[in-house]
């Protein structure tokens, strides 16, 4: 069993969403776990698949920031100072069953990778029995909490525990595609409530965005080892550029962005 990894250059929202959708198809062709690690061209916001575009327009803190709707669920993420990934597995894969399997595998591996970098993180668990998602969850992903989110403990500067990694999935007919974001530092491209503390602030500069690549490499090694997968760093693209461009048109279309 292989874990195929692509390190992609920063791109805009529609391109990234299109590439991730094609990654899901690639995982079924290869019958393997496929991961794409990437950045964004400038500050961008990705909206959860079920979030209202009106709610996004009403958020003054992200006014004027490019917006794309993800096919995956969850809350809005301000990209540009985070490490974003898409991971896809066929539904027949050991992590292709219930949503928690892939979620916990990738978040648990990041917890271990952070520990190797001297940072103690935890998988969040609700402290109230039966606590569940609500229709009025906060707009931003990093203001939400659900089981398995990666958090750093409370400190004097930042109040309660701080979420540093969240993920959400799109479950397709033959594959599961999971989007995730590890917050590296505060995004200075947006003000106030849209700008959450990242690893740099929460670890008091122990980790900075310059550590993102070695941290992600360690993370992927842990992910691979957890299922005795061979880690394969891919050189070429998994889909022709023309196909990604064609698919990106749908994600750039206001009918897609404004569908809810």
């Amino acid at each position: 069993m292989n874990l195929h990894v692509w390190w992609d250059r920063p791109a805009d929202g529609p391109w990234n969403m299109a590439a991730d959708e094609l990654l899901a198809a690639e995982s079924t062709v290869r019958d393997a776990c496929c991961v794409r690690v990437y950045g964004w061209r400038g500050t961008s916001v990705s909206l959860g698949g079920f979030q209202s575009v009106a709610a996004a327009r009403a958020e003054r803190s992200i006014a004027g920031v490019p917006l794309v709707r993800r096919p995956s669920g969850g809350g809005a993420i301000v990209h540009g100072s985070d490490l974003t990934y898409a991971a896809a597995v066929p539904k027949s894969h050991p992590w292709g069953g219930s949503p928690r399997l892939l979620y916990d595998a990738l978040h648990g591996a990041m917890r271990l990778a952070l520990a190797d970098h001297g940072v103690v993180a935890a998988l969040w668990t609700p402290d109230v029995a039966g606590a569940a998602a609500r229709h009025d969850d906060p707009f931003f992903c990093f203001d939400r909490r659900s089981s398995g989110d990666l958090v750093l403990p409370a400190d004097a500067d930042h109040g309660g525990d701080a979420k540093i990694m969240g993920s959400a999935q799109r479950r397709l007919a033959a594959a599961v595609m999971q989007h995730g974001s590890l917050l590296l530092e505060r995004n200075r491209g947006v003000p106030g409530e849209a700008s959450h503390p990242g690893l740099r602030e929460l670890t008091r500069n122990r980790l900075s965005p310059a550590d993102a690549r070695p941290l992600a490499e360690r993370w992927l090694r842990v992910v691979a080892d957890s299922l005795a997968m061979k880690l394969v760093a891919e050189e070429g693209p998994f889909a022709p550029e023309a196909l990604v461009r064609e698919r990106a048109r749908r994600f750039a279309d206001c009918r897609w962005t404004g569908r809810r």
């Binding site: 069953g97 399997l101 089981s147 959400a168 999935q169």
Partner: protein, 128 residues
């Protein structure tokens, strides 16, 4: 559970009704696997779908999933109460948790779906 109920591998159920309609929902396995459902989008009445096409979407805390049409046909009725009472899916997935009623293009498509025993085998083989 009605003996005539059939299942798709993607975890929808389909039950022929009197008058030739087919009622569609999602299985208890699917509901349990998704956990903590928060939103649901249903199709409009009158929409035509092909077997395997997305009928709607459902969001849980961690995931958005498509609901696929088990057979081709026209949507003739939608359980509009469901999106605001998603707990019904967990409580009664094969009854009050029905999602749509279709007028099938070809009732023979039902024979391509799984019977209860075959579906149980699919569920048993799922990673968990």
């Amino acid at each position: 559970m009605a003996a005539a109920m059939k299942f798709a591998k993607s975890h929808e159920w389909a039950r022929p009704e009197e008058g030739g309609l087919v009622t569609v929902g999602i299985s208890s396995y699917a509901v349990e696997a998704l956990t903590d459902l928060v939103f649901m989008q249903l199709p409009d009445v009158g929409r035509r779908v092909k077997a395997g096409e997305s009928l709607g979407e459902i969001e849980s805390v961690k995931a958005v999933s498509d609901i696929y049409a088990p057979v081709s046909g026209e949507v003739v009725e939608v359980n509009t109460a469901l999106p605001s009472a998603l707990e019904t899916l967990g409580r009664d997935p094969y009854g009050a948790g029905w999602i749509v009623r279709l007028r099938p293009d070809d009732p023979a498509e039902m024979s391509a779906l799984l019977d209860q025993a075959a579906y149980d085998a699919v569920v048993k083989s799922q990673p968990h």
